[in-house]
Amino acid sequence: MTRRDPSQVTQLLQRWRGGNREALDALLPLVYDELRRLAHRHLRNERTEHTLQSSALVHEAYFRLVGQDFPQWEGRTHFFAIAAQLMRQILVDYARRHRASKRGSGVCMLTLGDVEALPLRKDLDVVALNDALSTLAELDPRQSRVVELRFFAGLSLEETSEVMGIGTATVQRDWTAARAWLHREISRRSST
């Protein structure tokens, strides 16, 4: 019910594509808000299905914010590029809060209607992954973007290739190396 005026997001996307950096600043909170809202809605409603499809989430956010206003693929690529970054932020926030609540640090968890903390499967520490990914970005920014798009936004190889404007072979190479590199980095950090 809180759907935004799609033309607002469309115009911002166009201005950003045209090189206007301020447009991106204005865009980020709008997209963040929507993704976050959708994530919350899924968490509240989907009691039987215990997973949340991130690609579905990103596509739904795109549809709600941009709709049919912006049919060109270019608009979608720009949108997904932002959405991936924001999904990363949202999920890492969830993971951090979960950690905090596990330590019983007395965070204000008093909302009656919200699911506040998400349990994480033991085999993946999203916070550690996030830290390792930031280190990887210093070495190879493109590679860390591939991980954001593939892992945090759930995009396919082909979608990632289109969003980044590079060939699928390059995406595949970056992805393979990034997985190996991140796995090594996370193991090293957790053993020290």
Binding site: R44, N45, D93, G113, R121, L139, R150, G154
Partner: protein, 491 residues
Amino acid sequence: MSSERWERIKEILEQALRLEPEKRQAYLDSACRGDADLRYEVESLITSHEQAGSQFLGAAAPEVLQLTPPRALTSGTKIGRYEIVEQLGAGGMGEVYRAHDKHLDRNVAIKILSPAFSDNDRLHRFEQEARSASALNHPNIVTIYELGRDGTSHYIAMELVEGKTLRELLVSSLLPIRKAIEIAVQVAEGLAKAHEAGITHRDLKPENLMVAHEGLVKILDFGLAKVASPKGARSDLCTTSLTPSGLVLGTVGYMSPEQAGGRRPDFRSDQFSFGLVLYEIVTGKRAFRRSTAAETMVAILREQPEPMGSLNPEAPPPLCWVVERCLAKEPEKRYFSTGDLARDLAAIRDRLLDLQQRHPETRPSNLPIPGSVFIGRDKELAAAKGLLLRRDVRLVTVTGPGGIGKSRLALEVARDMVEHFPSGVYFVPLAGVSDPASIAIVIAQFYAVASFVIIALVAVYYVFERTPDAYQAPAGDAPAEAGGPDGPDAS
């Protein structure tokens, strides 16, 4: 490490991984040509690639987040005299389960307080509040059966309401004005009863209002907001959750100016929150929604919402006046008693019903009178209706082999849609159209002649059946019951 070197490592790694493990050594010998560091780096990455397996980052991030809280009780667990059936939801104060009361052989809802709320002081206040709320006996308030304790777990057993929260209803569809008023009357009556007994809710919001399948509305969690706040904190602020970026996620959107300003709220604070809920169910918009919690609170304290009538022309003016009065910044300008508020709303509802009986709705429609009774297929009917009422759905297509009753289904859906689309619902026969390019023109003609918005429960399938070529057209690619952005305007 230089980026050229890293690119080189990636290439060698990729090549090596394509080879059978026993051939890798020879490849690395030639590829690294005596550069021991390079070789060490690649070998180390090959090792971690193998350790990572396909699991690591194998599924996208949210798929690895499991949504069942770890403390969730499994089916069959006994709490007091109740047996857990399944989890219904989880909130900051604890989880809610469907459970079975063996003594009385009935199903109940059980809220198990999270240990965070189980300190003595909170428990004491919780019991006080819950006891006074349990004394409330009204069809629009969820009945509390028992406050209990099993080992270290404290729980509340209450009436099980089969239905959806008002929030869920608002997310999935638009409410017709009559339904919105009917819900409002019931909430006001429940509130009036509680206020008469001296109990305020303090956290009224769409998430706390259940609409049962048969239409009865129940208010949940009376008085619990007060208990949720830590001792000594400004009680009502703590029911909101502010994320680091300051986004409004919690209840801040439904606060009264007294709560936002940190003053002590009384029953008139509930009237304000109720006004906000009513504003939202009638207009589909939150009156004071801003991008940060702080801005929202400032808006609640100082700003006037956009007039309701301009957002929904169907809202009867007396209803807008009621909402305006509830949303007065000063409590003394609101209703002197919530009973008066409920009576005002009931009068508006009765007047609307009266008008409709005297002037039965003559909404524009050309729907043919069905020649047969429609039996069964409730699921398809509900699915199609659900899709049409979503704001983000513009086109619903029904596909299937000829003769299974698609037209009949479409007609039935369309008849049920009349009340939701004041501008009219039209049946546009496309059976005679053989060229997919002319579908838009045929629909546009209807649109131009009638200048109404058309809900095209379009019989596109006729086109497919008759001309196989048309199946290649983009419109033909829509899957059954899919909503798409590129259909004719249907809202």
